[in-house]
């Protein structure tokens, strides 16, 4: 079985900017994959190279085993891309846009699938509205719908929830999850890290055109992030305790690896005669992982 996406040693330079620097990445069929990184890290360039919108200077990219240059017709038929920019064609209604998009992929009688997409994205009532008349959120839904008209096995969403309200986000993720469960491979870029944490089973982090972390979400959380005991005390902490923690906004934070360390820590605080006013245990999150990975020096290919 070929990989859903295989990216090998892909580089791309725009003028003096190295947008992609020997990127290697493989996404297996059926995965829900996250592509994270700050603005300008190369996420969109990578997606564009995959979609044939940008030509890589070197390296190769395949979608379901089809080379995106040499076998572009098959590669594009297997790929659905939701672009980041909120673009639309003002001449057409929602249904016309979707029928035309189907036609571009060579599909002429697609009405039942179009109806299903419209229904699932909460667009059914807007089917005959002109694109110009739609709100930003509705236009975003149409963009998702347009990417799905040809039932692509691989779906790439480039920041689909940027500036989108809660309702759409939930509708969208419920639908995308169903598609994933039905066997579609999903690749997602987002700035909302809790989204990536909840949805993606594996994550790649990009920085300055290079993959700086690549692992399952669980492993990343385990490797880069730790639990922390967070507490607020009545008096000042003695120096030997303060040395092990960090204070911010009246809260002290003590990282720990295993829960047996919590007892020791609490005993030391009690012994120091400090009163604990408030206490919680902080769970590791992807945001912390992200910050750590981005602060660290480029490590080349992790994993």
């Amino acid at each position: 079985m070929s990989a859903a996406i295989r990216i090998q040693q892909v580089s791309k330079r725009f003028g003096s900017t190295q947008a992609l620097d020997r990127v290697d990445l493989e996404v297996q069929q059926g995965e829900f994959f996250g592509l994270l990184g700050p603005n300008g890290a190369g996420k969109t360039t990578l997606i564009s190279a995959l979609a044939g919108l940008v030509r890589a200077d070197s390296g190769s990219l395949t979608v379901m085993g089809h080379d995106v240059q040499g076998d572009y017709r098959a590669a594009r038929r297997h790929l659905g891309v939701v672009p980041q920019e909120l673009v639309f064609d003002p001449f057409f209604t929602v249904r016309e846009s979707l029928k035309i998009q189907s036609g571009y992929f060579g599909i002429s009688d697609n009405d039942s699938w179009i109806d299903e997409i419209l229904e699932n994205l909460g667009l059914a009532s807007k089917a005959n509205a002109n694109m110009r008349m739609l709100s930003g959120g509705m236009k975003r839904r149409v963009l998702v719908a347009q990417a799905l008209v040809h039932r692509p096995p691989v779906i790439v969403l480039d920041e689909p929830t940027a500036g989108v309200d809660v309702e759409l986000r939930q509708t969208l993720w419920a639908f995308i999850r169903r598609l994933n469960e039905a066997g579609h491979t999903i690749v997602l870029t987002t700035h909302y890290l809790e989204e990536a944490e909840n949805l993606c089973t594996r994550i790649a982090m990009l920085k300055a055109g290079r993959v700086v972390a690549l692992d399952t979400t669980a492993n990343l959380l385990r490797r880069f992030s730790v639990h922390a005991l967070r507490l607020r005390t009545g008096g000042a902490l003695p120096a030997e305790l303060a040395r092990d923690g960090a204070e911010s906004g009246g809260w002290w934070s003590f990282p720990f690896d295993g829960f047996d360390q919590v007892e020791t820590l609490l005993a030391r605080i009690r012994a120091a005669g400090c009163r604990i006013d408030d206490l919680e245990i902080g769970k590791p999150d992807l945001e912390e992982v992200f910050v750590r990975v981005m602060q660290g020096p480029p490590q080349g290919q992790a994993n």
Binding site: R55, V87, I107
Partner: protein, 252 residues
């Protein structure tokens, strides 16, 4: 069943101008009609060309000018709008080859040119007795001229990053070429120097050959016009296809 994306792209390009036909069809027909009213009012009775009354001579020129200008306008404005708004991506993501892309945009331009040209003809032919001496030439030059300008429109639409760049292309290249091509006069009435200049203008041959189809007489032989126009079309097609193949300004 799968077919090629070409037919849908052609259909979409035709639908695009047809949805705003008041701007893309009715307005140019009205403009041509105004030219006819003004020029024929001033010159009818004073000028005869090739033994043809001036108004009758003018009508095919206006028809062909409308074909050419609207063919250019169709592909160029569609492409620049799609680029500026970003929706060009909808055409770039599907499995459409650069050849299909080229043919769809150029053919839609020809359709728009022919629709407007027919509109101009219908609006003007009853102003003067018009003959259709060798109608095949009418068709051949309308289609080839439309394709040439449609192709130029593709080049301009892809090259221009902003609307004012496209306007410059139109104002400083397309307009002078079409106006100084013998739409309003026979180049035989020009001083020798300007006659020579006109012979270097490919649009002259498009209009002259087109007009030959109506009256059976023209400044140049229709066969020479056919050769020049055919060569231009072949050259532009190769050039445009090469741009598209390289992904110039469309696929970075």
């Amino acid at each position: 069943m799968r077919h090629s994306g070409f037919s849908t792209l052609l259909y979409k390009e035709v639908l695009r101008f047809w949805k705003v036909a008041s701007q893309t069809v009715a307005a140019p027909v009205l403009t041509a009609l105004l030219y006819l009213l003004i020029f024929s009012h001033v010159l009818e009775g004073h000028v005869k060309v090739h033994g043809v009354a001036y108004t009758a001579f003018l009508i095919p020129g206006l028809v062909m000018m409308s074909v050419l200008q609207n063919a250019f306008a169709n592909s160029s404005s569609s492409l620049i709008q799609s680029k500026v708004t970003g929706n060009i991506v909808f055409v770039l993501l599907p499995p459409i080859s650069y050849l299909e892309f080229f043919l769809a945009y150029v053919l839609a331009s020809v359709v728009r040119g022919v629709v407007v040209g027919t509109g101009v003809l219908l609006a003007t032919f009853w102003f003067a007795p018009l003959t259709f001496a060798e109608p095949w030439w009418i068709l051949v030059f309308a289609l080839m001229g439309g394709a040439i300008l449609g192709s130029l429109g593709v080049i301009a639409g892809i090259w221009a990053d902003k609307f004012d760049q496209l306007a410059a292309f139109q104002n400083f290249l397309i307009m002078p070429l079409t106006f100084l091509s013998g739409v309003f006069y026979s180049i035989n009435s020009l001083p020798p120097f300007w006659q020579q200049v006109s012979h270097w203008n490919p649009v002259f041959y498009m209009i002259d050959g087109f007009r030959h189809g109506f009256f059976g007489v023209s400044d140049a032989s229709p066969w020479l016009s056919l050769a020049v126009v055919g060569a231009c079309l072949a050259l532009l097609t190769v050039f445009t296809l090469n741009l598209l193949k390289r992904g110039y300004k469309l696929r970075a």
